[in-house]
Subunit: 357 residues, 2 copies
Amino acid sequence: MQFKNDLFLRAFTDETLPRAPLWLMRQAGRYLPEYRQSRSKFPSFMDACRSSDFCVEVMLQPLARYPLDAAILFSDILTIPDAMNLGLTFGVGEGPRFASPLRDETTIRALRAPDLSSLHYVFDAVSACKRALIDDGVARVPLIGFAGSPFTLACYMIEGAGSSSEFAAVRKMMFQRPDLLKRVLEINTACVIDYLEQQARSGADVLMIFDSWGGVLSPSQYEKFSLTSLQQIASALKQRLPNTPLICFSKGAAQSFSSQAQASVDGLGVDWQSDLSQVRTQVGERITLQGNFDPAICATDAESVRQHVLERWRGFNPNRRYVANLGHGITPDASPELVGALVEAVRKISEKTLDKP
Amino acid sequence: MQFKNDLFLRAFTDETLPRAPLWLMRQAGRYLPEYRQSRSKFPSFMDACRSSDFCVEVMLQPLARYPLDAAILFSDILTIPDAMNLGLTFGVGEGPRFASPLRDETTIRALRAPDLSSLHYVFDAVSACKRALIDDGVARVPLIGFAGSPFTLACYMIEGAGSSSEFAAVRKMMFQRPDLLKRVLEINTACVIDYLEQQARSGADVLMIFDSWGGVLSPSQYEKFSLTSLQQIASALKQRLPNTPLICFSKGAAQSFSSQAQASVDGLGVDWQSDLSQVRTQVGERITLQGNFDPAICATDAESVRQHVLERWRGFNPNRRYVANLGHGITPDASPELVGALVEAVRKISEKTLDKP
């Protein structure tokens, strides 16, 4: 595949880049009026995810506004458990909720990986997004496909809802029935591998795993209950798709960066509570880091945005093995103008960094 | 002061102890039926906190059930902002809420440290608790006094409520008006110093700072917006009360353990997402660590509890500069029987650890 702009892909090589590539988690989202407009035509969030036209439309919206270096599939991390018929719904103003959570041995023994064909709408959306990015055989920017991590999916599947109790039911199961949790993780892992592979075969150029709840694990628990799955995914995908970079983002898991570095992934997401230069020291020079501006910065002012970029890059080289991004998704109260200011600051400052002797 | 059991105090010396001292965050709390019974007599949580009789009664309840090595004042971390007249209430099933949060320059410029006399009910409660612990001039166990950290208090004061948005208003102020945030921190810091000193003068033997929201800060932000205050508190108290150990617990701030070690406090709390042995390596041998059993363990079974204690202490010496505790407060769904099992496991296993050659 040829790219008009392949800066993002080159961040996974040892090359020193002319500037830091940039995309933004949840770049297609509620902070954009045009997104809210498009989204309002669908009764539910999952209905919207099932429409390839919608996915293409909103995937392109941020690219029309900002010179971003990657596009990302519009979808949800819970498509897999949704396909397992656990009764996923998104309440108004609430997070996701499963009507049939996996709370006991019987429901867990009955759990089966879904047939990939039930997720064809996702692969269709990937293909449609890819087609929309290609002009005359050349893709505008690389397309990112993604999945939830096996552990994070298990959190929702077992707890039934995103939870202020920090997934106490999952932690209880981890202590009392680690065998049951591991069974859920095994099923999820096998499914995530095939799911990500199919996204790549449908056109995704880079794959990303969102491990949103890896932060509820201590480092030794992380190694047992998340890293093992990540290693299996990384190793299977490396075999099947040797040229497709894989990024993992474990939110709130600063305690586990050294473990994350063992996952054999190509890139690690860094949340806004960490310092990039410290993480670089912890994980070494060979892993691409992605992050970690504070999403709250997009509701401040242009000068604060610029200062924030400078501060986050202090003692850190943004032109090598690095992808500029937020340290979590853009929030609905972000100002589209300030998102523009962030894009500009990242470009200008990282271009300048390179000029330094 | 003489103590019948001074094991907790000796954890702040270089001595190797016959077993690990133990107390439990929120040991007087809703998991105990006798607590719920006592609490039901008061219309609001702050009303209960204002009754010395209630404070003494519930402070003693866990000591009557379990052979714990410390008592802790029953109070709240928000007594200081409450005394600043910001309109604190606790909604049913909700966290705290301030009617008049500090959102702009005018309200912040008008903020004043409260007169300590408005907090006399806290010092009265400390004195009453201390008297209740003394028999024939000898105190049963040491008494812990506490305060919220200046940063954590500022989070509530600025945001107005504990928040799922991880204190976005505070983070915005940190970026746009760090001078205003620092002013709030300075007022809080001066007040926390006098408040903790007065608790010690009223009978508290050990002081603790709860920095419940230090985890929303990156290490460099932690150094600027939390560590400075902690260092000022530690240095002032060391001068005024050279023999009173000071513990700081920054929840969810694994990324900042190296910074926390610079605070010159005697002890650091370790949350349940961290590994004790790794934290020991990060902070060195001179600081007492306190933690870090997962509160979810108290809703499992006795064998899981025992395994958890063994697992948490793997590669860690629990008999020197260590206080056994949970890595966060006991949850309301904890089983009083399993709390007993935890107490027993901690005693038995740490006694055994000592016997090892």
